[in-house]
């Protein structure tokens, strides 16, 4: 077990190296640089700036300088956001993005699992079909359509429910106030709920057909115990291996959601950084996210091996 984890951890290093190398050189292929401005700077000042950021050295030297810094967990200074290092920027956006993503994930799991189980228990009934068509809607309608529609409904028109005004703010973060979280988290969670529900339904239908469930029924166990204690745990196994990709999708979705709702998270830095040629910032975010996803995949693998005794550590 320990050696399995160690080996997988070491496997992460070459993967990260590939990612760093690929993104580093790709970024540099781009025409234009981070210090191009409307007004041309005098050549001596340009030289000074380039020297200050090591941009005057040959590319391969810059690459090794970057790697050297990276090993010391230094992502370098941001080229465009003056006086900030990339680590500071990421640390600044991370709590916001994490709060957004984790809330969305929790809601997706909660609703996805319960809806998927419900659909599986009522397989081929009207409930099943309508739930699964709803799930299909959730997958096909992109977040940048649901977001403005929800904003229009809850923000602009304002919704009254049982006499209460439940209008919600349509943007901003406000230090993570609950009202500001509702819409972005919903938008982020909707497709994920749909995917999780489909997954859980599929595996649940299979599990419910298996022999030991029939045995449990034959022994006269109450239905809720059969479902909760005997069917649900094995039915959730495929979900574990979906955990890594799920977080990747939420990160991707957060690019759009953070932009639409003007939320100061990491995703916004990334898009702005790419457009501004802020090499270090973009690289930093890519590496940070890649490491995060790699570790999550690893965690999912280990969890899977722990939960499913049939999987052996190879």
């Amino acid at each position: 077990m320990v050696s399995f984890v160690c080996r997988r951890l070491f496997g992460v290093v070459p993967t990260l190296l590939v990612i760093v190398t690929l993104s580093f050189f790709l970024m540099r292929l781009a025409p234009g640089g981070p210090f191009d401005t409307q007004r041309r700077l005098p050549p001596e000042i340009q030289r000074n700036i380039a020297a200050a950021y090591d941009l005057d050295k040959p590319l391969y030297q810059q690459y090794f300088i970057y790697l050297d810094r990276l090993v010391h967990f230094d992502l370098g200074p941001s080229y465009r956001t003056k006086d900030f290092t990339v680590s500071e920027l990421i640390a600044d956006g991370l709590p916001v993005s994490a709060r957004l993503g984790l809330s969305a994930m929790a809601i997706a799991l909660l609703f996805g699992i319960s809806l998927g189980t419900l659909a599986a228990l009522r397989q081929n009934s009207a409930t099943d079909y309508s739930l699964m068509s709803l799930a299909m809607c959730g997958i096909t309608i992109p977040s940048f359509v649901t977001a403005p529609v929800l904003m229009l409904m809850f923000g602009v028109w304002g919704v009254r429910f049982l006499g209460y005004d439940i209008s919600l703010p349509v943007g901003g973060w406000n230090n993570g106030a609950f009202a500001n979280l509702v819409l972005p988290v919903t938008v982020l969670a909707l497709p994920e709920i749909a995917i999780v529900a489909r997954l859980v339904r599929g595996s649940m239908v299979e599990v419910l057909r298996s022999n030991y469930i029939r045995t449990a029924r034959a022994k006269g166990l109450p239905e809720h115990l059969i479902v909760l204690r005997h069917a649900l745990p094995p039915a959730l196994l495929p979900l574990v291996s979906y955990l890594g990709p799920a977080f990747a999708t939420i990160l991707t979705g957060s690019l759009v959601v953070e932009r639409i709702f003007a939320i100061p998270g990491i995703g916004r830095y990334f898009v702005e950084g790419a457009i501004n040629r802020d090499y270090t910032l973009v690289l930093g975010v890519v590496i940070f996210y890649a490491a995060f996803i790699l570790l999550l995949n690893l965690a999912a693998d280990i969890l899977y091996a722990v939960l499913d005794p049939r999987v052996r550590y190879q």
């Binding site: 993967t15 993104s23 790709l26 992109p142 940048f144 403005p148 040629r277 890649a290 996803i293």
Partner: protein, 308 residues
Amino acid sequence: MGAASDTTAIDRAFDVPGRSLWIDARRRLTANKAAVSGMAILAIVTLAAIFAPLLSPYSYDATDYGVISCAPDWWPGSIIACRAGGQHWFGTDAVGRDLFVRVLYGARVSLAVGLIATLVSLVLGVGYGALAGFVGRRCDELMMRFVDVLYSLPYIFLVIVLMVIFNRNFYLMFIAIGAVEWLTMARIVRGETLSIRHKEFIEAARAAGVGRFATIGRHVIPNVVSPVVVYVTLTVPNVILAESFLSFLGLGIQEPLTSWGVLISQGADQMGSAPWLLLFPSLFMAATLFSFNFIGDGLRDALDPKDR
């Protein structure tokens, strides 16, 4: 009675025309209402996209400052600033261009991106996966290890970097998205290839002296077609979504050309005052994505021999 009539009975039994997997599959597919309506919708959208210039008197890039963000004539409600009139069936956008034509031109781009990027992923994925699965051993391990590495890339970030670098090059976008989507395809094909590698007909081909690459091309790939077909129909909507996602971030297609993603993002900006600008592109995109998903699900049910 005796041996003679028995043989005729057997002969008669053999006279029943054989049903191939594909005939069976087609029958099951055409019985699936969701899949058939998906195909119908897709056919209509595709035809409309191809014949877009013939369907409307307006050009996709002609601006008309007399009708800025005007509603179509049939739009309900009275507090609308202006009516587009004429043959602007879907109203007009912020610079007075006809939305109907623009939605159809957007369909051209979105469908083209979807199909071409999927084709790229198909060629790469099937070739790579079949080779890895067929050659096996160290080569397979190395090749799939490489896929694993690429799999853990936050690919949308790389696509964004690519789009920024190459200045929103139209063709590059096809390739970039396709180059990202081939990984799953390679895994599926490799798995299938591994499972048929030791079947008798492959051995027979080898015994008959068929070369390695010819075996892959003639005998392996045709036998992994059905999961690939299913995955392809499910990749197209993903690619269309990816393109619209990039366009939404402002990294996709550039004006005056358009795609559904661009139209939706522009519509979202004016949603409060001109909701039709969001409604029609979203409807077209959702209908298309639905169709592809229904066809994919239908194909999976039709081609899965387990369900017979």
